[in-house]
Amino acid sequence: MQQYEWDFGAVLAYWPMLLHGLWGTVAISALAILFGIVGGGLVAAMRMSRHVALRTIGTAYIEFYRNTPGIVHFFWVYYALPVITNVKLGPLEAAVVALATQSSAFYAEVLRGGIQSIVRGQWEGATALGMSRADALRRIIVPQAARRMVAPFVERSFEIVKTSSLASTLAYGELLYQGMQIASITYRPLETYSLLALIYFALLYVLSSLAKILEDRLQEA
């Protein structure tokens, strides 16, 4: 077998493209996480509602996203939505909508899991003092649940960052798409995709270190 000659230089020459891609990945992920948390709160509230209709909608929403692949959501929002609504989203918007709606379902489960892990006695201790359900949730349940939610929340957010690479299929210039371009220009897929993996790894590693600090802070409090 012929010795392969590594040449990262050829790939690194296109660093502005990679930087652009990194920015694209961060933008999609940050927006999807932000909207996903808001949506997740709503879905979780529905899922735990006392009203059967709301509970059913919440459950159906979560089950839908749990049982369909992410790439179908991307294609549906980008190619199918315009057919029925006359709304033509750009690749970034479509990717954010697809990712945020999907992550809403997963964040909702993180929230619900955290809240339901708090024993019933805490609700009783709070309501026996005359607290409203809302106050009990705000003062007693959520502060305790939050600590337990950090780890699964971080896990979910990582999934979002990784899933954002699906935006490449919509020809949006995130990290993977930019890499594909560079690979086809340089004919160096080995270096390009190795480098890409390294960049994803570094990005998530930094984020997980930050999350760890946050988690420790919360445990101390």
């Binding site: 805490q122 309501t127 026996a128 003092l129 409203s132 502060p143 305790q144």
Partner: protein, 269 residues
């Protein structure tokens, strides 16, 4: 300072009529009539499954009764609705239940302290969040209540660092801080190690000296005898026998009461 009112005064402060509670097909309370007058100390005793905890929990609506009426200071709790077919149902608004629970305090078997708050924060919580008192005032009041239960050296300690007996005394202070008209104790010593029971019972007895109106569900019959102005023996979801401590413990009239009392070592002689 709470007023000491003689137990013989006028109208009941808390009253139930034909109170019923079912969990699915199982009827746990089968029609309980109860009158609690100001200054009364009522011990509710009975075997496990007799419905004594459920009765207590229906009085502050931790459980919603499935039938009968509850009155607080003469006012019926809940709104009666009559359906088209003439059948009646009772609904309870959250606002109304919040007000009842503020006035009828509860101490739980498992304490239910908030683990993310220190002792004093636990006691302040109701004052600040429910009564909307300024923090400084709430803190002073909470410190006073903790001193009353003998824990003035544990103000900033978290529940996880307290013994079971100390935790239960914080829980008592937390209930007292709301200045409830009636205080309910749901087996307050049942989850404590034997050597920690005494400190909690002593705390409850000091409240008796203050003339507090209290209902206590307990397995500690000796304590019930010392504590109570009235004793209720529940059997199978109904009041089987009721009377003073002297009557129930020393001279029970009914066979089942006698058998139950005899099983307790303190009264077996």
């Amino acid at each position: 300072m709470s007023e000491i009112a003689p137990s013989t005064t006028d109208a009941p402060i808390l009253r139930s009529e034909n109170l019923r509670k079912s969990f699915g097909p199982i009827e746990v309370l089968k029609g309980i009539d109860l009158d609690v007058k100001r200054g009364d100390r009522i011990a509710i005793i009975g075997g496990s499954g007799s419905g004594k905890s459920t009765l207590l929990r229906c009085l502050n609506f931790m459980e919603l009764p499935t039938g009968g009426k509850v009155f607080l200071e003469g006012e019926r709790i809940g709104t009666v609705r009559t359906a088209r077919d003439g059948s009646q149902s009772v609904t309870y608004s959250e606002r109304e239940l919040m007000s009842v629970r503020r006035r009828v305090g509860m101490v739980f078997q498992q304490f239910n302290l908030f683990p993310h708050m220190s002792s004093i924060e636990n006691v302040m919580e109701g004052l600040v969040t429910v009564m909307r008192r300024p923090k400084s005032e709430a803190r002073a009041r909470a410190a006073h209540e903790l001193e009353r239960v003998g824990l003035s050296d544990k103000l900033d300690v978290y529940p996880g660092r307290l013994s079971g007996g100390q935790q239960q005394r914080v829980a008592i202070a937390r209930a007292l801080a709301m200045d409830p008209e009636v205080l309910l104790f749901d087996e307050p010593t049942s989850s404590l190690d034997p050597e920690l029971v005494g400190e909690v019972l002593r705390t409850i007895l000091t409240l008796a000296e203050d003339g507090r109106t209290m209902l206590l569900v307990t397995h500690e019959l000796g304590f019930a005898y010392r504590f109570a102005t009235h004793v209720i023996y529940l059997y199978d979801g109904v009041v089987h026998e009721t009377g003073t401590g002297e009557q129930i413990f020393r001279n029970p009239q009914k066979e089942k009461t006698r058998a139950f009392i005899a099983r307790s070592s303190e009264f077996s002689l």
